[in-house]
Point group: C2
């Protein structure tokens, strides 16, 4: 399947992240207008809320698009997802008879502000990258005991904090927390000195469930994917995480990219998970390819400096897919809701330059890595971290939009009012 | 401060759980009526939604009470909480001139169905009972290493699953999950054979926050408290919880009692946390008594059998208060929202009969304990577990309403459709 040509010229350029094949879902505003649903095409945002108001889109129980979130569309169900994609494809296709009617609803992308594309119901984060788990396990427990005994049998996950999920472009304030170094007699309360990123993909649940679901059912429940940066304070994490897992170390912020790339747009890029090292129990086995070939990179830009690409990897490195993670999430009968967000876990590849966290890139801070004009072990104040992702099709690209966050200094006195 | 007398006779009986001093907040329906806000008084539920519609309560930006949750009232802020309590106290007080106007809005408690009293935004569970942590730690790591190194310095918490919180009276289906016994070669997928309760209190956040808050500020953010049963599958937990904490073991269900007892009603029962074994860092120190003297008990009733009280303890046994937990929760800058629910952690006392979980009562299943007509290690199908709590004032009682759940058998084939 090649490029679907559009009458929006820029959408036909092979490296444009938003061709007609993509049609990702975002929330935008211009000037003082209220945020509303929009879809990216070429160098424009299509104001689908206005398109719906004008009668060019007819959604059941609408209007569904004049709100600052895509949850209502997700809730409307897969038939509506398909209708919307098919209808927008027809309206924007080269030769469309409706071009003149649609044209006034294109807003230059340069003029819009992007907002959170959906309301996050609950947020779950996983630990499902083989190389990341091995790297981190080796640092803390040695290579012999790197993987916990359960790791090859279940996608290890923990519940995160939905209230901390923010959209790309929002500054991230370095957190305070309780820390205790290995040589300290007692803990102290201090700004995190080992603040880090985690390069992840986020899967968004579009269909609710009650009771256990199969991996195939779980896959069909996913509306789309975003890039996700799970900011992590490693020093806070080291002191707090045993026995019940990360808590405040991961609660400062989680940044997502502004465009939900739908599962439909990703279909041509499906790829299987790597070979199993031990067989999975039947309820977690993949009935088909459930990962996607998404090239990923991380850029680090110091204040006033030049960006260095510090890691390049691929979503296909994951040991477990989002569908497997979601299936595991429901085994206990846990109800899943529209807007639930599942973080893949850090995506690292086998080589040093493919590691998706500074913890791994600097090997626990022991081996600072070079950047343009300096070096880093962990994030410094005013550093900007950017995640990027793309799928390369035949003559076209599926992009996610950058997932950007700048780290600003910790509060000088957190309890001063 | 003694009993506030009401013209609702039953509310003046010393052991009635719902005197004028209490006025807990619930959501009720009768017959086919839509669920709406109600307040318990004596053996009645006061239809405060109807009272507001009749103009006897005037809430800013109202109506706020004709909805099936108390979140809107919480959102309206502490001045509204105080107005509502003062106004209801005046309307229901012995000698009230408005008795005749209010009387038609009393619905016999026997005629109502109770629903979830609020929308749970996010759910966090703690591990903040000294005796519980010591008991569990001893079972798994021996008494020398029972408490993790961080335990006396921070209230250990982890994020739970809000979608699994249910109201008292809802059946709980025994979950399936991946388990692996110490002598098994490989894990298997099976119904939990070690299904358990955790006796807890739940604190409900009524005021949102951004950035770190002090313990005093955190205390003022809490709208009220419920009883909370954190159902736990011990066999699933044992296999999954390292390294990132409990996940599916705790995601089947968490049951809360139907009435939110407000912080205002609990004021006379404030009590300090036990003496510190090591000093806390300043940001976690209590500026005054932050726990409450709430007598708690757990009853177990087999199908067709008689109830046995299997544990009696007190909320005052906790090492950390909800205010301390909430303050810790915000240290990283984690935003807190109206409707966030914080579970205290299991409340066990020092004696065997004061242990708040079957895991502790049966010492990991090794010492089955007697019940009327039998014995138990863990919960059997069709057992009903009931948590109860009360504060004893001078001539009156503050009750929470029972927190009840019956365990029904696991699905025979979880993936059959």
């Amino acid at each position: 399947m090649g490029l679907h040509r559009s009458w929006v010229d820029r959408a036909n350029v092979p490296d444009c992240p938003f061709p007609l094949n993509n049609l990702p879902c975002g929330v935008f505003s211009t000037g003082a207008d209220a945020p509303r649903c929009g879809v990216a095409i070429g160098d424009f945002v299509l104001d689908v809320a206005a398109l719906e108001a004008a009668g060019l889109l007819t959604l059941p129980d609408g209007p569904l698009l004049d709100v600052p979130f895509w949850n209502d569309v997700m809730e409307a169900g897969p038939a509506v997802w398909t209708y919307l994609r098919d209808r927008l494809t027809a309206l924007l296709a080269e030769g469309s008879a409706e071009r003149k009617a649609v044209d006034p609803f294109l807003v230059p992308a340069a003029d819009v502000t992007l907002h959170m594309p959906f309301l996050v119901s609950e947020y779950t984060d996983f630990y499902a990258g083989r190389h990341h788990a091995f790297n981190v396990g080796t640092m803390f427990r040695g290579p012999e005991n790197a993987l916990p005994p359960n790791w090859l049998h279940i996608p290890i996950g923990y519940n995160g904090r939905a209230s901390s999920v923010i959209v790309s472009g929002t500054d991230v304030r370095r957190p305070w927390g309780q820390v205790k170094g290995p040589n300290d007699d007692a803990p102290r309360f201090a700004p995190s000195a080992r603040f880090d990123i985690e390069l992840e993909m986020g899967a968004i649940v579009g269909t609710p469930s009650e009771g256990p679901v199969t991996v195939a059912e779980a896959d069909a429940m996913i509306f789309g994917y975003v890039l996700l940066n799970d900011w992590s304070a490693r020093d806070i994490q080291a002191w707090e995480y045993q026995p019940l897992g990360p808590f405040q170390a991961k609660a400062t912020a989680t940044t997502i990219s502004p465009w939900i790339v739908t599962r439909a747009a990703l279909e041509p890029f499906r790829t299987p998970t790597p070979p199993r090292e031990v067989p999975l129990l039947p309820h977690l086995q993949e009935p088909g390819p459930m990962l996607y070939d998404i090239a990923l990179e991380v850029g680090l830009t110091p204040e006033g400096g030049r960006e260095t690409i510090i890691a390049r990897t691929n979503y296909a490195e994951m040991y477990y897919s989002a569908a497997q993670q979601l299936a595991h999430h429901t085994t206990s009968g846990c109800p899943m809701n529209v807007g639930d967000l599942l973080g893949s876990g850090t995506i690292s590849g086998p080589e040093k330059g493919s590691r998706g966290s500074l913890l791994e890139l600097s090997w626990g801070g022991k081996e600072p890595f070079p950047i343009n004009g300096g070096s880093r072990s962990f994030i410094q104040d005013h550093d900007t971290l950017t995640l990027r992702g793309q799928c390369k099709g035949d003559g076209y690209t599926i992009g996610f939009g950058d997932c950007v966050g700048k780290v600003i200094p910790a509060l000088a006195a957190p309890y001063a009012r």
